[in-house]
Symmetry: C2
Subunit: 346 residues, 2 copies
Amino acid sequence: MQESALILTNGHFDSVFAKTTHGLVRGPSRYVIAGVVDARYTGQDAGVVLDGQPRGIPFFESVVCALDVLPNKPSYCLVGVATVGGKLPVSLRSDLIVAAKHGLTLVNGLHQLLSEDPELVLVATGGIVDIRKPKPASALQFWTGEVLSIPTPRIAVLGMDCAIGKRTTAVNIRNTCRKRGIRAEMIYTGQTGWLQGLKHGFVFDATLNDFVSGELEKAILACYEDTCPDLILLEGQSALRNPAGPAGSEFICSGGAKGVILQHAPLRERFEDFDCVIPPVEEEIELIRLLGAEVWAITLFTRGMTDTQSVAAACQIEEQCGVPVVRTLEDGVDRVVDEIYARVIA
Amino acid sequence: MQESALILTNGHFDSVFAKTTHGLVRGPSRYVIAGVVDARYTGQDAGVVLDGQPRGIPFFESVVCALDVLPNKPSYCLVGVATVGGKLPVSLRSDLIVAAKHGLTLVNGLHQLLSEDPELVLVATGGIVDIRKPKPASALQFWTGEVLSIPTPRIAVLGMDCAIGKRTTAVNIRNTCRKRGIRAEMIYTGQTGWLQGLKHGFVFDATLNDFVSGELEKAILACYEDTCPDLILLEGQSALRNPAGPAGSEFICSGGAKGVILQHAPLRERFEDFDCVIPPVEEEIELIRLLGAEVWAITLFTRGMTDTQSVAAACQIEEQCGVPVVRTLEDGVDRVVDEIYARVIA
């Protein structure tokens, strides 16, 4: 039986910092989600609050309340937020301690390692799993170039910014491919992918810089050898020109992705959390071309837009960029999969 | 008095893997270089072998021979090679053990940490300094954007590949600026910069990926606050499209460099150690433009070219790209400094 977990977002559920939690509520998830602790939504369903679809995941006011109400004690307590710089928000701390004292295993994807927190270590009899705990250089692999010789097409899901829906789009593309009989796999590159139970990947931003390309290669090769799929989707990280940590060329130059699905938020003018303007999407397409790949489709993150606005934006960008533009969550990604099918399967 | 060091290259002096040693022989250096251990050149002068200029740095056959001959025992023994993936070459091992047994402090810039090598730890009574020892996330800084508000121009010295002379060019530009009364500082980003005694910088490739931009920002801000210079040079790493680990956008997007000096090896067709073609230099200029900076000059790494060849290459590239092109080591970088002066000082 799949084990269950309680997620803590404590006041952050309705923010991009809770994107890990949103991914787990949408599924897939490594654990059955027994509930989410966020007092503001006590009694509501996390699926309904997220996107209107009930998923039988209740909100609780606190860990104590959750443990009181739930018929079975969850085995795990997950830190459900990913903050800039990876620090533990204060609002989660006391609930984490309560969960630890009740023997739940703490699972944490922040850079701030709970296993180095003396107070938590003392009470966490159920143990602590730090997903982002860096591996030493001796456990990491340098790039060899072997990945460039495998025949399976790699497609990178990149984005114009952080916290813009790259992983959700990648999961949707994978699922839609599979429904249509295309054996698609996905390489995760963040802690959420691991929490979602994906088999192949690594935590990109917690890897020593010199080994990012090698670990990406290793994950792709392992995926290829284990599953021999029709295509491999690569979950992108950050954005090519995000000043807080530009990333993405690894997927093209080192991972050998020839196609890119580009996630874009038409309303977002500045990079998440920073007063820096996001450059135009046409420039991003050209940048990707110079790096060695081609944008095959653009997928939209429409938060804050009315339906009319987002439909108009999709039409306008499609005309301007000459590739299919879809609203991932509203329209699904069938048109993206059509494009992928035409380019690499047909 | 500045302390002295013996460098080990053991068979690798005449290879790009010894670029750390080449930098220290050229200077500046944190330590007085007492000699280089590389049996092939025993008795010769390292400066003469490197570039024809005597520098009073003798080659020795072994550490034992060096300690026999040198009037004063050096305090340090440096690993003078930087291999792909950062593994210690076998040829250095026995000499490192001898040096350790004689009480020299081992100084190592490889990813492979000597402080985690039980055999060496046991004998190294003089201690071990691992320059590339990764810092934990708790000791690293995330990017804040503060760097974008300082007035001092930043100029990135990027390259078309690894091991192509970026650091040497950056040091030369800094020195030439200073001779002309321009207060130039340089941010190091590799272990050699630290070994050269540079004050501000960090080891880029041994940093957890998420914090590379923040550590770069921190180094630039510290340099600005400590020295308030006329300009700050940023030592680039790898190359924007190097498949083994693309890098460089950090200097532009996160460091705010508006100008780029691009180091190029006209004869080199493939990326160092890999069977991957280096794309054209004109594309690199366009890529840099899309990232937000402009190439102000191109500097050439001419190893393997005759004088006639390299002069012809410089002329041709200058005509083709429309920026000054100089052969760093042969011509000096005065024309590069003229260009910088005209753009940011005048």
